[in-house]
Structure formats: structure tokens, C-alpha cells
Symmetry: C2
């Protein structure tokens, strides 16, 4: 049996109870080095197998083979197992084979939003700025579409060493599509880990923000506002109740 497990933002308390139980029960734990190291502290007595970021296929094949040989295998993913996680690749490689289960987890869009207040209380779009697996022109088109639809936008992978300026490029595209420079935005870093922080700023400030690969970014919709230290996208309840 192979279970793809979303472990949430990183700390044990952010895992679902079924994710925790699955990891307690399994024999082997497989994953990207960074996530395996998070889990190893909680469950030291397991067989571990990790590979760096470019070796996803090898990692999945190893997990599928181990499970086929009768072992209980868990593949860990940060956040949710499906959102930019390994569930897709494992399902593709497993084909029509059964014996693969997917356990969801709290994705960074939600765990980061909780730190900021409630930026995702209305329709939203999730976009990864990594062009390792997606052509940049497709990313650009999605940014334009999300801005045109007045979605709250949550950006994953806003920057890395090889592409330090992608967040700036994305902000420029949003501005060109009509998002004003004063639009309320938010960033969170190291969610559920050491160094956790959040900050609210305008789109103009976000453009020059030094994001890294552990940053999640939120661009509000037209209604999003800052109230004290919180970023809030109203859903309209107060209007419905005649208060505003």
C-alpha cells in the first residue's frame, strides 16, 4: 500500500490526525529531502528514502516498487498532497493499478491565509511562478486571467535562487492588467516553521519584496482591505445583513 500524505505546513500540530496515524503505522517514508527531515524528528524509527528536487520520478518509482513488494509506504508532501504535490505524478506512474491512496493536508494557501487574517474568504486563484515545469507564457496568461476575473491570487514558488525577479515580473503583469499599485497584498514566510512571519503591504511594495522559496504571496481582490494587522477579503455578509 502506498499513501501520498500531505503533512501540512511543517509542524506536527498542523498535520491531520489521519496523516499522523498513517506515518505512525507505515514502514517506509519517502519524499523530498527537506520534508523527510521534518518528519524524521517525529518518527525516527522508519526506513527513509529521499531524493533532491529534480528526481521526482525516481522517488515515485521507488515508492511504487516498495509498495508492490508488500511494504506499507508513505510518501510525504509539504502542505497538501495534491496541490503541486506528488499525488499527480504517482497516480500517473501507477496507471490503473490500485493500492494508492491520497490523504489531503492543509495547503500553504490556507495555512498562510490564517496568519494574515482572512484573505481567501472569496473566490481565489492559486498560481505557481515556477517555470521549471510550466512555460512562462502560460503563467503570464494565468496571471492576466486571474486579474481580469478579480480573483484573490495566491502565488506559490514566487522566487528561487535561479529566478530572483519572477515576483517583480508577476507584479508588473498584474499592474498592466489593471490591478492598482495600492492593492492590498500579503506575504508569509516559513509557515509553521522556525522564522514564521507575515506582512501586509501594497502591490507597489510587493514588487520589490525579497521573496524566497519558502514565501507564499497573496494579492487581494478589489474589495480586500487591511484592518489593523489583518488582511481581509469581505464576502458580503455585512451587506446582506444591512449593516454596511
Amino acid at each position: 500500500m502506498l499513501t501520498i500524505v500531505g503533512i501540512g505546513p511543517g509542524k506536527a500540530e498542523g498535520m491531520t490526525m489521519e496523516a499522523y496515524e498513517c506515518l505512525s503505522r507505515c514502514e517506509c517514508i519517502v519524499g523530498y529531502t527537506v520534508y523527510v527531515d521534518l518528519v524524521r524528528q517525529l518518527f525516527p524509527d522508519k526506513v527513509y528514502y529521499s531524493t533532491p528536487m529534480t528526481q521526482e520520478v525516481e522517488r515515485c518509482q521507488w515508492a511504487i516498487e516498495q509498495a508492490a513488494s508488500g511494504r506499507e509506504v508513505a510518501m510525504v508532501c509539504s502542505g497538501d498532497s495534491g496541490v503541486y504535490g506528488m499525488a499527480g505524478l504517482v497516480c500517473e506512474l501507477a496507471g490503473e493499478e490500485t493500492g494508492v491512496e491520497v490523504l489531503p493536508g492543509v495547503t500553504a494557501a490556507c495555512s498562510g491565509a490564517a496568519l494574515l487574517g482572512a484573505p481567501l474568504a472569496h473566490d481565489f486563484a492559486v498560481i505557481s511562478l515556477s517555470d521549471r515545469l510550466t512555460p512562462w507564457d502560460k503563467i503570464e496568461k494565468r496571471l492576466q486571467a486571474a486579474a481580469a476575473g478579480d480573483f484573490v491570487i495566491c502565488l506559490y514558488n514566487p522566487a528561487s535562487k535561479g529566478r530572483p525577479d519572477y515576483l517583480r515580473k508577476a507584479c508588473d503583469i498584474l499592474c498592466e492588467t489593471g490591478v492598482e499599485e495600492e492593492r492590498i497584498c500579503g506575504v508569509v514566510q516559513n509557515i509553521g516553521r522556525e522564522g514564521e512571519s507575515s506582512r501586509i503591504m501594497t502591490l507597489a511594495t510587493l514588487r520589490d519584496y525579497a521573496a524566497d522559496m519558502f514565501t507564499t504571496v497573496y494579492i487581494g481582490n478589489r474589495m480586500t482591505k487591511q484592518l489593523g494587522e489583518r488582511m481581509i477579503t469581505p464576502r458580503g455578509y455585512r451587506q446582506v445583513n444591512g449593516e454596511v
Copy 2:
């Protein structure tokens, strides 16, 4: 202290460990009747306060007042606390007051996706079809924008008794925006509860599907495919590794 707690899809195992601990610890639990009833089975010895769906403001005000009087109060939301949840309204009503914490949970987009396979492995948009709080023309515009951007689309609140034909209307809008009738779609019902089910179908079939308020709907992007009993949106790892 007031904590807004996302309880995940419904079963105890789907809660995060910190959500479970927060509910164990608090004195009062507040929420929409349906969610409070789910939680009451797990924690019978609490003070409960629930209101039906149109009385969100009263519910939040009661929770804020109770917390201000020194009680430990948890407000429960199905799925995540922020995604169409109560975190937004509570933060608005609380203004710049401190003493409000938001705990995220597994939103239906992720828990439903896990049942289908991996439909959300690439950029996606989440749209609620409920026009109780959002004008229909805004919903229509967002459907068009999401289709134009080739996002995977996840629909919340696809139907209710008062609006049985909204899913059909949404499918028609997507078709008019260029989504082909053969596009791979998926539906899940009663995630994490009795009667849990999932089904994969084309957009043409989805158009006539009898969704209810416990249904979550997925419309794939151009790359989404059905493999056996699973709905998968490839992210491109296999292409990167030169296999396809």
C-alpha cells in the same frame, strides 16, 4: 480568546491535531448548526451555541462577546476557516481588537481532490456558485476568466434547493468560453461523511448532474485526463524527465 477553527471535511481524523486540541481545551463551541452537530459527538461536554445559515453576524457577535468576557471560545467552520469560512466576518467585526486566532483546516477543494486522484496538481481557481452574497454577473465573469486562463476550476456550492440549475448555467458559460464538452470533470459528495462518493465524467454529463449543497465540482484544464478511476492534471514532471 476566540479561535476560528477549520475542522476539515467532517470526520475527526480529517482535523489537524491543533484543531482537535483547541476544541478539547475550549469552553464554548459556536457555529452553523450542521457543523456544531458534527463536533458535539466528539466533545459532548461543552457549551454550544449554533445559529442557522442566515444568522452569521449574530453568531460571530455572540462569540466575540463571550471571548471578551474571558471565556475560551472556538468557532467551527467546515473545511478551512478562511475559504468561504467565518474568519473573514469575525475579523471584520472584531476590527483592530486582538485575541482572535485563525486555525486553518483542509478545505473541500483538497479533501475532494484526494478522493478523485490529483485534479489540482496544477494552477487552479476556486469559485462559489452561491449568489446569496455575490451578484451572479460577478460569478459569470469569474467563470469566463478561469476558463480563459485554462485553470482547473473547483466549484463550491454548485446547487441548493433555491437554485437547482446553477451548475448547468455554469457549464454553459464554460462551454461558451471554449471549454469542450469532452473536458474531464469530477464530482465528490459528502466528503468525510456518510454517503461519501466520487465520480468522473465529461463536462456534457456534468451539465445534467444533480448536484446538491454537499457536492464539490472539478472541471479539469486542457491537460486533465482520466486514468482508470482517477482524475489527474499532469504538472509536467514526466515531460521534464524526457519520458513523454
